[in-house]
Amino acid sequence: MKWILALLIFMSTPVFGQTQKHYPSSAVSYYLRHLAAQFVGRPLNKSEINLVETKRETAIAEVIENWMKNDFFVKSSRRMLETQLTTSGATSTVDFGLPGNLMEYIVTNKLPLSEIVTANYCVKNGQKTECDSGAPYAAGVLTTKAFLVSNDGRFNLSRAGKMLKQFTCQEYPLEVKLQIPILRERMIPMFQVDESDAGDFGNGVACYRCHSQFGAHAQLFVKFSGEGRYIASATGEQDPNQEMGKSFSGTYTSHLEGSEKSSEASQMFGDEVANLAEAAKVMASNPLFLSCSIRNVLKHFLRVSYIDSKNINEPLLTEISQKILNIEKEPTLNTILLQTLTHPLVIDSVLVSGVKNEI
């Protein structure tokens, strides 16, 4: 029994860093003042200043939890998503606010953050509603005209790339063990080659290497037109009268040959999926979704740059992810934020960066 107990204690100890680190009140004040602008939009108030003086590092969690009850925090979370997806406002034909509405709804109701791509509804005026693409399924923001129109492009590459980058922090080419490449013979000739003369499309290099993976994710969008409408009859065939990558009825050309062109069925991270909604569920349940969410909250709430966010220590992300999953199997944004921003190594990084920030 003793060795079982020892093993349990060992496994509960973080890989690195202490679970409870002590900071002087000056450091805690600096840290919270750094966070305040994105959380609550105002400086620390008197009671928060006093709390920091008396409780020091244990005040951090308490203050952040209070801040997350504030409407400014909900709106800030909305801005985080809108900036990620570059969707906001409205035109006469597209409500670009639907993704932001969904984010506000998820945060306000403390729903799992994964619903941002798995929700089977959209939100308008604070109420659930049908999404606007007309698809027979919904995949959170992915099946809104806002996302589809903002990222329309030949071969659906922008949609696939944005989805992957913003929700898993991955870019093509991916590790082969993560995204199994489509076999060459299944692809249209231009993507079967390794290199080509960069003619009407592409940069001429790594064609098959990237597009064998791109193609699987782009296929998920084969039924969606450039205007963000679902066209059930879309074939994925190249329109001979249009530039490379454009199909009929405003939709985009498939990467695949033969009868597979018109099918929404594809593969996401090794799982066969019937359509975009199923693919989104696979994506959201992959550990990359949570670690990417941690990067995204650091980028927005701490204003870490995109380049610096890519260099965030992987073991740190793994440790924070584990702490989060120990609390919630389907974590909310609140839990993700609290566990991330109270981690000693995150606090240390802000304090050290602030102190040594030469201007």
Binding site: Y23, S26, G41, L302, S305, S349, V352, K356, I359
Partner: protein, 229 residues
């Protein structure tokens, strides 16, 4: 700008035998802010006293231009012991060598917080400049622009002017009795030596408490520490 200069024109009486001759005159009060790690350090004094509004503002501007041509200055790394933390390696870095200007929404919220809400006209004026101050509207192709420059600083000061000269501000934060409270509320921390120096400069440069309060308000709300994260 890493070293910024603010010029305020103020009425003065010529009790100190300046260049004005008899009666009231104009004086140009100069405040310079050096910013580092989001913190502000102030210096300042009286640039010129002149009977003519035009002359006072003209010569004041000339001096500011000359000051603005000073070479870029870096500041020494602050000793980490000032924050009481050990020297530890960062597992990631924040943006170095750039100021993280807060969002438009945070700028507006800070003012709402400090003044317990803004008047309808002030709120409308701020809203009308939201794009210039960093708001976005992707449907119109407008991305968030959180850079800061002279033009934006002028817009911001222009919006702050009526607020800092308003009766509401003067009654909420009269100078000097509520000057400390104003600074603490704006920055979310206790006063430090730089704040005390700023108050001292303002007190010695201006002759009445209404002007002192206005200038303190403008200086703090246009400072780097207030506008950055």
């Amino acid at each position: 700008p890493l070293e910024r200069h603010l010029l305020f024109l103020s009425m003065c009486s010529d009790e100190n035998g300046g260049s004005c001759g008899r009666g009231n005159c104009l004086k140009a009060v100069h405040l310079s802010e050096r910013s580092f790690a989001g913190r502000s350090q102030w210096r300042g004094g009286i640039l010129i006293r002149h009977r003519s509004f035009v002359q006072a503002s003209f010569f004041g501007s000339i001096v500011l231009l000359l000051l603005g041509c000073q070479p870029f200055k870096t500041v020494d790394e602050r000793d980490s012991s000032s924050l009481g933390i050990p020297d530890v390696p960062a597992t990631f870095v924040l943006q170095k060598n750039s100021l993280r200007v807060v969002s438009f929404e945070a700028k507006r919220e800070k003012l709402n917080y400090i003044f317990s809400g803004l008047s309808t006209s002030d709120a409308s004026a701020i809203e009308s400049k939201k794009i210039e101050l960093g708001a976005y509207d992707f449907s119109k192709g407008i991305s968030p622009d959180l850079s800061w420059n002279k033009e934006k600083a002028e817009i911001w000061l222009g919006l702050l002017s009526p607020i800092c000269q308003s009766g509401k501000f003067q009654s909420m934060y009269p100078f000097p009795s509520k000057a400390d409270a104003f600074i603490e509320k704006a920055y979310g921390r206790s006063l430090n030596s730089d704040d005390i120096e700023l108050k001292s400069i303002i007190t010695s440069s201006l002759s009445n408490n209404t002007d002192r309060g206005t200038v303190l308000c403008l200086s703090v709300l246009a400072s780097t520490e207030f506008l950055t994260q």
